[in-house]
């Protein structure tokens, strides 16, 4: 369990993290979302005691980070930036971390095996690809078999197999009752991984809810219906006070409707349905709607490539 | 249009790319997929004339890159976002590129605006975040208003807003009739962006087809069916009826059923005949990731294994509850390793699988090989790979056998 209480971090006049209060609970994967510059990395660094909060505090299982004896046995973290010496081998990197926390040497080999780096364990990490580096970082996080795990952008640089693996890993860690706190920019990935979401923007808490609630609250949901008896269906829906709209190619859409309600209605009227599918907006859409105000670098998405503006004169030269 | 013919690259005795032939057509976003080390970057470098092919050739608009007249105005590429002099400002970096190829300076400010870096254009790029560096790289690719664009992992380091922007940008570029070739590891992102796919594994072509065909060819479509939660016997009844009609039924985690092998109207009729009310009947296509994973099994370099945790005592912090047993987990490991090619277990794809007429990765005779045929990827407890998996709903048909190469043999 990670508890943040009024956590604040100022760099000069700039407030990076502003009075954050939330709890990351065990047994589920909690996603940590926010645009670039929202303060996610700063928050994670404060959790690990790397940065000192300007105000407020963070508790790891009820204790301050620097009060933990052998902290790697309580919390393991993968930070976004590379955190190892390129001239050292993967094995030695993990070994020195293990020794500092009294973790047996055999465990080093285990985690190397777990992340699939055994074959290159003795090689200098300098030559590692981004994906291999990511695996090394994950190995370091798992080293102390901690009850709490924190991952900052874990799929960065991983290939599809690696992405699938880390997703499965995080879910199973949570299923074992551990606390899993993960930040990511990849909404589609988060939608598959996280159960709960903490969203921040400009250092402030924007949402702390379950995934389902978050999407429901921040986007439109509807039911799509197809039926060979379209006219009768429209009639039945109309009489039940449900508004259906055409969505093209013969389907109907009912805003905010409950699929089970429509299913029961159709059964009562002996209507044949060829599709009855509840549709929900993606996490990305919901996220965009929530954070629209707090994005730092706005691209001109409306004008991808202004072709005419700058003339064709030079092209002919 | 990019055209590769028999493209091969050897480094010493390691073959990075072998006999690749494909075309990247204008007007569409073509995704370029493959596991790490499969030769994607090497191929991109050869397209851009940075590396010389050992055999074969690759042309852009009919010319090899190095013979292209005014190449920077015809081809734009984002390869490595870090290929920028850190001490130079974003604007000066672009300006020097523009001057090299006779592009007017005002175009620099235009592309800076397009990528949203106009406010930081005067700052030295050393202090740029990964995402800002990526935007700068994209700006450089757009500089010459090229007809052909190559992007290697374009969304790396971008935040959700940036990811959405890049996706829309690529689609818009393709809609303008340009050739857009994008490599990425993010399947979910690719599924949303690309129209066409080129998949390679171990330097060889595995697939060259539309995204839709690729998914259909490598996995089964299915229907999600839900019966009233309040009456579990309805669910049993429908299951039995569907099985009897020749469909396959698998339970999903939330109590719904995953039905394969029957079209939606048929399921509707069966439910009606069995007097079962439906609360949901929705068509689903497997994810691009599932399809991709199926295809590239055996072409992956670094694999993870189960965590044994021998000799490591678990100190429980005060107040923490003991580990919960994980349902479905029969061994002490934390999670199931990625299925194929585990030590001691039968390889998912037999080397070359010459006797399998259906194709090298269909492996219809070995159902346990395909863990993704299992239902409910969401929140699913990890399962040991030995656990008997459900048989694949339908033997996946392989597209045209001619444009597919075996991933394992013939190296």
């Amino acid at each position: 369990m990670i508890e943040l209480e009024g956590l604040t971090k100022r760099y000069g006049e700039k407030v990076a993290v502003n009075n954050l209060t939330f709890t990351v609970r065990p047994g589920i994967v909690t996603g940590f979302l926010g645009p670039n510059g929202a303060g996610k990395s700063t928050t994670m660094r404060m959790v690990l005691g790397l940065d000192r909060p300007t105000a407020g505090d963070v508790r790891i299982d009820g204790r301050r980070y620097d009060q933990l004896k052998d902290p790697l046995k309580y919390i393991g973290a993968l930070l976004e930036a590379k955190a190892w010496h390129g001239g050292r081998s993967a094995y030695n990197h993990l070994l020195c971390l293990a020794q500092s926390n009294g973790i047996p040497t055999t465990r080093v080999r285990e985690v190397l095996d777990t992340v699939g780096l055994t074959a290159v364990a003795k090689k200098k990490t300098k030559g590692f690809s981004m994906g291999m580096g990511q695996r090394l970082g994950i190995a370091a996080a798992l080293l102390g078999d901690p009850r709490i795990l924190m991952f900052d952008e874990p799929v960065n640089g991983l290939d599809p197999e690696g992405i699938h693996w880390i997703r499965t890993l995080m879910k199973s860690l949570a299923a074992q009752g551990r606390t899993v706190f993960v930040s990511s920019h990849l909404m589609s990935e988060m939608a598959l991984t996280a159960d709960h979401l903490v969203v921040i923007g400009q250092g402030r808490l924007l949402a702390d809810t379950s995934m389902a609630d978050f999407i429901e609250r921040n986007s439109r949901s509807y039911v799509r219906i197809r039926s060979p008896q379209r006219e009768r269906l429209l009639d039945v829906l109309h009489r039940a006070g449900i508004t259906a709209v055409e969505s093209g190619n013969g389907a109907l859409e009912v805003d905010g409707g409950k699929a089970e309600h429509i299913g029961e209605l159709a059964a009562r009227h002996q209507l044949v349905l060829h599709e009855l599918s509840p549709q929900q907006a993606s996490l990305e859409e919901a996220f965009m709607r929530l954070t629209a105000e707090s994005v730092e670098y706005h691209a001109h998405s409306d004008a991808p490539v202004p072709r005419q503006q700058w003339g064709d004169d030079w092209k002919r030269s | 249009m990019i055209e590769a013919v028999g493209l091969t690259k050897r480094y010493g005795d390691k073959t990075a790319v072998y006999n690749l032939s494909f075309q990247v057509r204008p007007g569409a976003v073509t995704g370029f997929l493959g596991p790490n080390g499969s030769g994607k970057s090497t191929t991109m470098r050869m397209i851009l004339g940075l590396d010389n092919p050992t055999a074969g050739h690759v042309t852009i608009g009919g010319y090899p890159y190095r013979k292209l007249p005014n190449a920077p105005r015809q081809v734009g590429a984002l390869l490595d976002a870090k290929a920028v002099h850190g001490g130079r400002s974003a604007r000066n970096h672009l300006l020097s590129l523009a001057q090299l190829s006779g592009i007017p300076a005002r175009r620099v400010d235009e592309v800076l605006g397009v990528v949203g870096l106009h406010d930081v254009a005067g700052r030295r790029s050393k202090g740029f975040s990964l995402g800002m560096g990526q935007r700068l790289g994209i700006a450089a690719a757009l500089l010459g208003d090229p007809q052909v664009l190559l992007f290697d992992e374009p969304v790396n380091g971008l935040d959700p807003e940036g990811i959405l922007w890049v996706r829309n940008l690529m689609k818009a570029l393709a809609a303008e009739g340009r050739t857009v070739f994008v490599s990425s590891h993010l399947m979910s992102e690719m599924a949303l962006t690309a129209d066409h796919l080129i998949v390679i594994g171990r330097g060889q072509l595995l697939a060259d087809m539309s995204v839709k065909d690729f998914i259909s060819a490598n996995s089964a479509d299915f229907a999600r069916v839900r019966t009233p939660d309040t009456e579990p016997q309805q669910r049993e009844k429908l299951s039995a009826a569907i099985t009897e009609a020749g469909g396959h039924v698998l339970p999903e985690q939330d109590g719904a059923l995953r039905v394969t092998g029957l079209p939606l109207p048929r399921i509707s009729d069966i439910a009606h005949d069995a007097d079962v009310r439906l609360w949901e009947l929705s068509p689903h296509q497997a994810s691009l990731e599932e399809a991709y994973m199926r295809m590239t099994q055996g072409a992956v370099d670094y694999r993870s294994t189960a965590d044994q945790k021998a000799g490591l005592q678990q100190p429980l912090p005060p107040g923490a509850q003991p580990p919960m047993p994980v349902p479905g987990q029969g061994q002490p490991g934390w999670y199931a390793p990625p299925p194929p090619q585990q030590g001691g277990q039968p390889s998912a794809v037999p080397q070359g699988a010459p006797q399998a007429p259906a194709g090298p990765y269909a492996a219809p005779g070995a159902p346990a090989a395909n863990p993704y045929a299992q239902p409910a990827p969401q929140g699913q407890a990890p399962q040991a790979p030995q656990a008997p998996a459900a048989p694949p709903a339908a033997p996946p048909t392989v597209p045209t056998a001619s444009d597919v190469t075996k991933p394992e043999d013939a190296r």
Binding site: L79, G87, C96, S100, N101 | -
Partner: protein, 256 residues
């Protein structure tokens, strides 16, 4: 207990990077080889020396002549041991593993200092014996008055140079910045101050000048240094303590 773990961990760190081996072996080789060369040259020039120079001829100190350059390698060693953590990003993993920053710094310094001490003492003795062998009939012996003190002192001097560099690197974090400060400090400022009569007094209290006093057995004629061999070393130790304290306070305070 915790400190022992940190020491073991730091030992793994220091032995598993190539820079440790090359900086230390460079220090050994340069110090000994240059000492031998200058000893050999001094022997051949002895006959041509003035009486005054012969009077202050210090065979022990001559055999340590290589230290002027060898200490540069010790500076690099001291700087890299600490600043590697920052330049590679390892510091984040290290401080997450050992959040008690004082313990972390103590463990790191203890291991690096012990290693530097062993290497320095061995170098000092080797430089002395090989240098004396080159000096032939003008040689000193270990039993002579003050010689053993000078030889052990030479080892301590090299060690303290390394520790001082560690302290400075802890304050400055960047390896380039640390070397950029330390190398001119030892090679330029110290000698420039020494040339000008007005600043000579100040220069004497710099760590290298004060510390190297311990290696002198025969003081130069008309020597008016206000401190003795141990006094000089004491001044150097004060510098080292100041650098370490500065490093400790900054490490405690700032964000990693």
């Amino acid at each position: 207990m915790a400190a022992a773990q940190v020491v073991r961990s730091e030992w793994t760190k220091i032995r598993s990077v190539a820079s440790t081996v090359w900086t230390l072996s460079l220090a050994v080789v340069v110090t000994i080889a240059l000492g031998m060369l200058i000893s050999a040259l001094s022997r051949s020039e002895f006959d041509g020396m003035s009486a005054r120079d012969r009077l202050s001829f210090d065979p022990t100190f001559i055999s340590f002549a290589g230290m002027s350059l060898g200490q540069l390698a010790m500076v690099v060693f001291g700087v890299l041991v600490v600043s590697n953590e920052y330049s590679t990003g390892m510091i984040r993993a290290s401080l997450a593993a050992v959040p008690q920053r004082g313990t972390f710094l103590f463990g790191k310094l203890a291991v690096a200092t012990a290693l530097a001490l062993v290497v320095s003492l061995a170098t000092s003795f080797a430089a002395f014996f090989l240098g004396q062998a080159m000096l032939g009939e003008h040689r000193a012996s270990l039993g002579d008055d003050g010689v053993l003190r000078a030889v052990i002192g030479g080892g301590l001097y090299m060690t303290l140079i390394a520790v001082f560099s560690m302290g400075v690197a802890t304050m400055l974090r960047s390896p380039m910045l640390s070397l950029g400060v330390l190398v001119p400090f030892f090679f330029l400022i110290s000698s420039i101050l020494g040339y000008v009569e007005a600043t000579k007094e100040v220069g004497r209290f710099l760590p290298d000048q004060a510390g190297s006093r311990i290696m002198q057995v025969v003081p130069p004629v008309g020597d008016d240094t206000p401190y003795g061999p141990w006094g000089g070393l004491g001044i150097m130790v004060l510098w080292v303590i100041a650098a370490l304290l500065g490093g400790y306070v900054l490490l405690k305070r700032r964000d990693a």
